[in-house]
Subunit: 479 residues, 2 copies
């Protein structure tokens, strides 16, 4: 059935704060969610909808691209756009950008001085990219606030208010200050959740492969940690056990494989949590950085009752900043604050004041925008070098390359990944394999290439080295 | 047997950095430890030793007072000074200043505005006493250091060096930077120790009464926490079970009862740890503040292999500062750093830089000296008000009043403590009873009176209120 113009429940308001494209995409999402738009229904062409709404075609294309990337729509814009299958428990829509086979061509390798390693290990942002004046201002301001007598176990009230506004602007979260707890970061937030929700012997799930510190924090809290399989799209809800007290997951950009959890799986995940009573912990560690379309709405927005949202300043500022945030039901926030008092856990007041200044001045968001451009360039350099056509290259493919600060280069054999790490180290490039992200035997082999730490020129050099190492002449493949 | 002048193995060196009194007390300690001075041996009078060494009698009196307070010597200066029984496992020497019965007289009570509570809850220092210029300088300096790419899991090397020097100066610890780990504070250090040393189901000991957060951190790490009795002198080593993996203790100033662990018990504690293989965690949280004699040497100094030392900036600066230190064998420090990486635990870089500045400039030590005088005045006001002779007052006694930032007012009945807390709240004084420090049924009843948070005038007002409440006219005793 083709939706006629009059049937599509979309209007735009030029006086509203939200961009026109965001207004359109939000209304289409809502229409699909409540069933006004059903599976397989065809949407108007971008030209027709633009005419109907009196907006430019670019606005509609932007909205459709976003919805397409999130998995709400499928098909091609040229040959018609359709509502994708987003019912819970069914198969997910195809990913927005299917992984491409990598086949790099040989290139000259340049000698790199020892001790001058190019840092491609993941997890760290470009801390050197913070403008010194911005950094100085934040800490100078922190120094003008006298230390509190009793630290507020929820975090500074002004900071919670600023974080609520920031998360509304940047992630569309409908969070009030009462929903927010200031944490020491993702690991700190997870430790509080474990202390509040997990009893010794409880079973909890962590993505496999997944973030090792999440496993470790939950294990140290006495939980039995079971690995939960992810594929290139992210966690696989149909395979989740029914006895989990808590599931740690990274739906926006699976760590490390990079999948963006499609809408159908999001529905399935929430259905699973509702049915089993598990708490889903959504680690939104690097959603600030996406290079194809805007970030997907947080899982938390779909069901704030069962999803606890974790964010951190570690990826937008520096790992040593030492602050993050947790968004949850106010009752859970209150319980976590009590647990924190009992454990003597706190975020240093000056760190909170510095973050408050960075948010209130807009410096943090300006920095994020600058970094997004910077990382986009580095990512492009890596992707270009590792996907050039080359018939004789070892088979490999790039995963998770549309977001964050790392890509994964999947390789057919673990042996090859180990040899590449050793060879890269000889050529001055510091790398990790995927192995460290598995609790059990690795089921995917490859390299994780972080581009947060090294400047563009260094990423380019490292990419050329890797490309050279991947050619059969310089480095025979295993097959 | 009387030691002749020639036999006492003490010399002084006027060119040495250590004060003359400290030189003398150190050599007497050493002589007792190695057996050159035996139990019951009499020392020269202060006048004779002063003549022999060519120093003023004040110097010798200072040295003897310190040794007397630590439990090395006993008897009275006037009637002869003797080597006390410091053999491990035997009964401890009498305390330096036996608790005095308190018997306050009635006084006028003044109305206090609601919402303007005088804060006598313990555990917080006078953060408002930090000079604003000092605080500003520390954080301004932190803002000039760019954030690190990868946080050092041991802590900043320069900070570890400064801490080693500080602990040598202030506590006589023979620590090198390799012995030091920068922590988030006492609870943070204890959490790392638990993660590294304690397996789920292991038994650990915490003083009873003791620091609730220590119990909680160890419990959350999966340990079975058993209460270990303390009396007015501190932990009772003879009663310790033999199956503890770890014991948390506060020998310098037992929290909350205030005992200073005598030398004989220190020996016994170390003997117990050596015999059982337990790790003793010495929380030296407020040893910076003593009002009778200098602080006792840290337990750690007596046997660095089995004692892990914890210190914190929470009591010398502010609870929200968020940094502390741990001193241990370098191998254990290395293991803790590895555990920390796995858990994603860290101390924010700027916090470490600020502490580094406070130490390197001498600002921290100047602040400690100022606070010591300030707290001494507040302590005197409390002690004076609560120990005035009063024949008809309810029986009570002050404990632990020679150090730290709190005293304990022991009372004959828990009911009375509860009523006093309620009555004090009505008169504008915020108080806690001792109950919260017990894991099991409380065996001591009373109030804990913290004088870190409130200025001298407020402490005076609160002391007068308490004194009034303790009189049978205003508040009939239970007997």
């Amino acid at each position: 059935m083709t939706i006629s113009r009059a049937d599509l429940p979309v209007v735009v308001d030029r006086r509203a704060a939200a961009p026109l494209a965001a207004q359109i995409s939000a209304q289409v999402r809502e229409a699909v969610t409540v069933g006004v738009l059903g599976l397989g229904e065809r949407l108007p062409s971008t030209r027709d909808l633009a005419d109907m709404l009196g907006v430019s075609r670019t606005v509609v294309t932007t909205a459709y691209t976003q919805l397409f990337a999130e998995g709400w729509l499928e098909g091609r814009h040229g040959s018609g756009t359709y509502v994708a299958d987003v019912a819970p428990g069914l198969s997910p829509p195809p990913p927005a950008s299917p992984p491409r086979p990598a086949s790099p061509a040989p290139t000259a390798s340049s000698a790199t001085a020892p001790g001058d390693l190019i840092e491609l290990r993941p997890g760290v942002p470009w801390a050197a990219g913070i403008e010194p004046a911005v950094w100085r201002r934040a800490w100078r301001s922190a120094g003008t606030r006298p230390p509190a007598l009793w630290p507020d176990p929820y975090g500074l009230p002004e900071l919670r208010a600023e974080l609520a506004a920031y998360l509304r602007r940047s992630r569309g979260l409908l969070a009030t200050p009462a929903n927010i707890l200031v944490t020491r970061g993702v690991a700190g937030g997870l430790a509080l959740l474990a202390a509040a929700l997990v009893r010794p012997g409880d079973t909890v799930g962590v993505e496999e492969p997944g973030y090792p510190a999440a496993r470790e924090v939950l294990h140290r809290a006495g939980a039995r940690v079971v690995p939960c399989r992810v594929d290139v799209h992210g966690i696989v809800p149909d395979e989740l056990p029914r006895n989990l007290r808590l599931l740690y997951t990274t739906p926006a950009h699976q760590y490390p494989l990079g999948g963006r959890l499609p809408v159908a799986r999001r529905h399935a995940l929430i259905g699973w949590a509702r049915a089993t009573g598990a708490v889903v912990v959504e680690d939104d560690y690097d959603s600030e950085f996406r290079y194809d379309v805007g970030p997907l709405p947080a899982l938390h927005s779909m069901d704030p009752d069962v999803i606890v949202y974790l964010g951190t300043a570690s990826k937008v500022l520096a790992p040593g900043f030492g602050a993050g945030w947790l968004v949850a039901d106010p009752h859970l926030v209150e319980r976590l604050a009590q647990v924190r008092v009992g454990l003597g856990d706190r975020v240093p007041d000056p760190v909170q004041h510095a973050l408050l200044t960075l948010l209130a001045t807009g410096d943090l968001e300006r920095h994020v925008r600058r970094m997004r451009l910077e990382y986009a360039r580095r990512r492009a350099a890596l992707v270009e070098a590792l996907t050039s056509p080359c018939d004789v290259c070892a088979p490999s493919r790039l995963l998770g390359e549309t977001a964050g600060m790392h890509v994964v280069l999947e390789l057919p054999a673990a042996r090859q990944a180990d040899r590449l790490v050793a060879a890269a180290a000889e050529r001055g490039v510091a790398l990790w394999t995927l192995d460290r992200y598995f609790a059990g035997p690795p089921t995917v082999s490859g390299l994780i290439l972080g581009y947060g730490a090294a400047p563009l020129s260094a990423v380019r050099r490292a990419a050329a080295e890797l490309r050279a190492l991947l050619t059969p002449v310089a480095y025979p493949g295993p097959a």
